[in-house]
Symmetry: C2
Subunit: 328 residues, 2 copies
Amino acid sequence: MSRRGHRKWRNESDSTVGVVMATSILAGVELGGTKCVCVLATPTGEILAQERVDTLAPDVTLPQIKAILHQWFETRRDISALGIASFGPVDVDKASPGWGKIGQTPKAGWTGVDIVQELSAGLGVPAVLDTDVNGAALAEMRWGAAVGLADFAYVTIGTGVGVGLIVDGAPICGFGHAELGHMRIPRVAGDTWPGSCPYHGDCVEGLAAGPSIISRSGMRASLIATDDPIWTLVGHAIAQMLHNIVLSATPRRIFLGGGVITAQPQLFPIIRRELQASLNGYVSSPELDRIEEYITPPGLGTLAGPLGPIALAAALAGQATRRPAAVA
Amino acid sequence: MSRRGHRKWRNESDSTVGVVMATSILAGVELGGTKCVCVLATPTGEILAQERVDTLAPDVTLPQIKAILHQWFETRRDISALGIASFGPVDVDKASPGWGKIGQTPKAGWTGVDIVQELSAGLGVPAVLDTDVNGAALAEMRWGAAVGLADFAYVTIGTGVGVGLIVDGAPICGFGHAELGHMRIPRVAGDTWPGSCPYHGDCVEGLAAGPSIISRSGMRASLIATDDPIWTLVGHAIAQMLHNIVLSATPRRIFLGGGVITAQPQLFPIIRRELQASLNGYVSSPELDRIEEYITPPGLGTLAGPLGPIALAAALAGQATRRPAAVA
């Protein structure tokens, strides 16, 4: 019944048992809404190389990423695994025939693209896939502010709204991955702007992501005054999502990052205040009582994203190297 | 980091290793908002005895339950464990000093009551605690319609709204248990009734639970016509909660039961339709495509609740009996 110790996000390839060495290095690709980052790093998270590629149409972006990867793999022979951390929706269920493919997305050309096949073909190493936010959450758990935590959330507010929800040490995963950024939430009374999500209008992403802020205000977020009332509306939407996350998984901490949050730190006090007002004392815990530590920036800062695919690859490599020992 | 294989809901008592026999029987108490049920059953879920006690003040209700338990334990010497499945909020974190106690609740007199201590004292067997809905979900997983599923939700709409969210074979649990019935959701346009939840007003429970329906309509639900527009409002609230559950845990199935649902089966098509409209094709899976199987009544029917504490006790007894074998 339970698949404890064999969580789906591991996606390990059995054929690699014994091939992966603990001292080898790891390659990763973070596919984001605006940019993609190729990373080469040690299993301890030390970045050896990092290259950025703009996220355009897949027939433009993917060849550029592949060129970088192939150059690295030709130069170095000790790369043992490839981690891919992608924007969603993406099929992360290895039992599914669609494993590795991007799902229904408004990003032009990307729907149905088999990113695992595209990026790993010809490299000769096993590949592992999860969402960008699950990768970042696992990086925080391995090297950042979530070390020692088994239950927490990693939330990013940027081009989209993403949540990596870690339950009992692994990303939550049923028939697919979490898409909590598209959660349905109540509006501030009197706010009737329809929201910008092409699927849901005023879901969290439709009210709080970067493009939504531009669409509502008619200007770039960096040009909006920090005391503009729009930040209360954005903070309220995020806090309503956090209310629902607190009541679903009771995470020990919630890490809040991404482009919008990093550039608008005035959102933190708004979100904390709105969350406490919304919960209204119904649940209590020592963690929640320390709200400034509870809603907090990620420990790895802007490295959480690029280290995400490395954390995935490290788990894959770690799993494979432990196996022969267990058999012996 | 991970506590796989040692999930918190097990709460087993180490002192009982070797005492519990696989052939012994199990006692359970389901503490509900309206009634409590004491159950005596075999480890295979066959109910041997069942007694009902009204949920009144704790100094009235708890002595009645204790009298039933003590009579059973005096009559039979082969009862090996006590399962307690309680309404929430209740402290289910065994590492917490408040473990076993009812949390902040509008139920008069119950806040802070140590139900584990109260009910298990003097019985001489280990006790295990979880929420009523987590118990029912585990009963469905052991004996009902969720056999073979590791990721699903058990939702009950009755005196309150409760959700047992099973992730990778165990109830989701961070600093506490899920309280998804108090999720924040958007309203039907133009519906401004403030809701009946004393903490949140128009959270799901404040819009869809039995007392909310009575409060809004001024009459018992059984007197309301099945085609009354109120059912669309109730179904919409439930569907918005399910939208958020689908996008958080991507459960393989959602079991929907409880007094309100059982008495108002016309809610099923409303909820299914509203959920599909709300998701708007953003996520897809073979499970979701078969919406009539996806949103479905529980397999154990009204027995899911009373068998909940038995499922908890069975897990506890099973764990204890397996241990000496592992050591040997």
